[in-house]
Amino acid sequence: MLETLPNFIKALRANDVDISSAESIDAGHAITKIGIVNRSLLRESLAQTLAKSTDEKKRFYECFDLFFQTESIQEEKSSDSNGDDTKLDEEKISTDEPGNLIEVMQRFDESELLQLIASSANQVQIQNIRLFTQRGVYTRRILENMGIEGIEQILYTGSSEGQYDETLLERKNHLTELASEYVDRQLQLYTANAARNLREEILENTPIGRIDLRDFKLMQELVGKLAKKLISLHSRRRKVSRKGDLDIRRTIRGNMKNGGLLFDTIWKKTRVDRPKIIAVCDVSGSVAQVSRFLLMFLYSLGEIIPKVRAFAFSNQLGEVTEQFDNFELEIAINQTIHEWGMGSTDYGGALAELERITSSQVDRKTTILILGDARSNYGDPGANSLKRLQEKSKRVIWLNPEPRSFWNTGDSEMQRLSAYCSQVHHCRTLRHLERIVSEIARKTV
């Protein structure tokens, strides 16, 4: 078992369970205490030493069951005979003598064959398998390691002499099947997440508007993941910024009981600046998907971005904060898009309305975040309203999902509007969104 442990840990790591070497040492100690014969006990002990969160536990159990599905066969065998014998067996097997395989093929005991496959797989280092295209190569290597060439030789000479050993051929095919099944399982174990990671990386950089509906679920998880990362990145800074200088007045007052000797020091607390964010999202056709993920991001960051007021508009503008407070994120977003997403965009009307609703509350702490393509259908782009809003607020950030080269073409009013923005960003992929949201989070603390 102790030889198998490193492989198992490798498989766990491939399945996104983070394991440090300290933890693998613990697992080794636990195994020496627990023994390996009681499987459920082993499973539980390893789970407690290796998987350290609920998510990881779930993946651990899946991985354990898959991994020891093949292992158990070996163990069944080794529990029949005592430990030394199995070791001898393995040595005998590994000598690659074709004769050996032929004997086994004559008996054709499936568990014995599987055991052979497993030990050969170890020798060809199956744990290094990376891609599904390598399946064939590894299967062949395992078979060769077992001495399949001897069998093939017999079949070949047999067929040239006109004597066809059909049973042997059938058995050989069956063996090949067993080996390739084994390789499939190992591939699943060691590369479970490689494909997913690749896909996530691609999704992060794909323009949101072009992402297929079927990938949305993955995208949502991805947003959650990124949000978590941002939270851990920024929440610490926030703690630090709270610490202040010595509050002399309160220190002296508080230490009167000590005869004026300053034992207890009292520190000034920096007042936490409670910034306000007003997010205004265009939810008409073209921009709706980007809006969806921006809102998702902002509301997943509740821990570090205190208060977000959300507005949605296409031809009319309305506040949707309440939806987000009362419903689950996904429902709220769908409702928003459904409710406000009709009609062609009217920037002039929307910005004027925004000014009317929020002007009493916009102050020097407010960040206004506008997401839209600035295509006003040749109507009034609302530059005057935006100008007045910018004068009152801390900053106005405009996010435009169109590539920069499209700005100011046709009915795009980016040039006029950007004059009244503190920052203008091109914002098309999840990666862009992450960067922008991270910056907002940094400046709010």
């Binding site: 300290a22 627990i34 459920s40 539980e44 703690k239 034992f263």
Partner: protein
């Protein structure tokens, strides 16, 4: 060798379960396993799980089983060394300096130069910073306990990240370093339990040093055993209905799901009402024992018919 070990291990785990049963805590296999591992590897256990499944109770039960004192440290935001580890008894130090003021002249007596008197004071400088003037707080207390202690660090997720880092030395080596005194080693290794409700992710460094035990809501059988232990006079039929009802509740989308302790309370209430079967009226009138939010109570009241008569899951 492995097989004899194995037999020992599963026997010890059975024994642990038995011991816990004696004092009224029903330990599932995974709980017993982690107690066994914690004892044999002398590692702390980090316990996570929904509120009310007996995380804190486990540490209490363990201290009863091992007959060691339970030292509890409740975490909260802003918890720091002075509250968790030790503090100087400032008042006492102050008082002593006042009393000893006259003595100072004797000490200084004969010192001719400033340098000489400074040296003389230096010989005494540690008298106010030794263990006599130290107020040990839970962590230090646990390390100094002669017969070993059970240290419960409760709701670790409520404390700050800095505090977590500060725990690392204790959890790994059972030792703390005090600036004025130096390293203090545990007289006997304490058994450490940490609990977390997962309001915040616990750091990897800390997790690495602990066994991780997740306690979920109990299975039907386990919960039945727990009720049996705590409310032995409740009849079987009623017990079955009660557990079914609670388990159905846990499948609903409620603000706060009923925990084990609430199930036990409810069982006691049902016992007092002296009925033979759970009917809607009874459930409705006692629902506030199980559920702690008005919204939940209202929601469940409307769903009652389907919950009590619904198929057994």
């Amino acid at each position: 060798m492995a097989s004899s070990n194995m037999a020992d291990a599963s026997e010890s785990i059975k024994k642990i379960q038995n011991q816990f049963y004696q004092i009224g805590y029903i330990a599932s296999d995974s709980i017993a396993t982690s107690i066994f591992l914690a004892q044999s590897l002398s590692k702390p256990i980090l316990i996570e799980g929904p509120p009310g499944v007996g995380k804190t109770e486990l540490a209490t039960a363990f201290s009863k089983v091992t007959e060691r004192p339970l030292i509890r440290l409740q975490c909260y935001e802003g918890l720091d060394e002075a509250k968790a580890l030790y503090e100087w008894k400032y008042g006492k130090q102050l008082l002593y300096t006042q009393i000893l003021r006259e003595k100072m002249n004797d000490v200084m007596d004969g010192a001719k130069t400033l340098q000489e008197s400074l040296d003389k004071i230096h010989d005494f400088d540690d008298i106010f910073f030794n263990e006599k003037f130290m107020e040990p707080r839970p962590l230090l207390k646990a390390l100094k306990q002669k017969e070993g202690a059970v240290l419960l660090i409760d709701e670790l997720d409520k404390s700050d990240q800095e505090f977590e880092a500060f725990l690392l030395e204790i959890l790994q080596d059972y030792r703390v370093t005090l600036p004025e005194i130096g390293a203090v080693n545990a007289t006997k290794t304490p058994h450490v339990f940490l609990t977390s409700n997962n309001t915040r992710e616990i750091g990897d460094a800390l997790k690495r040093r602990c066994l991780h035990l997740y306690i979920p809501f109990p299975s039907r059988d386990l919960e039945k055993k727990i009720i049996e232990k705590h409310v032995p006079t409740l009849n079987d039929d009623l017990k079955e209905q009660l557990i079914n009802f609670v388990h159905n509740l846990r499948n609903l989308d409620l603000k706060k799901l009923p925990s084990i302790s609430e199930t036990i309370d409810w069982a006691k209430v049902i016992l007092l009402t002296n009925v033979d079967t759970l009917d809607n009226e009874l459930v409705k009138s006692t629902l506030n024992v199980l559920l702690k939010f008005q919204d939940d109570i209202e929601f469940v009241t409307t769903e009652l018919p389907s919950l009590t008569k619904g198929p057994k899951l």
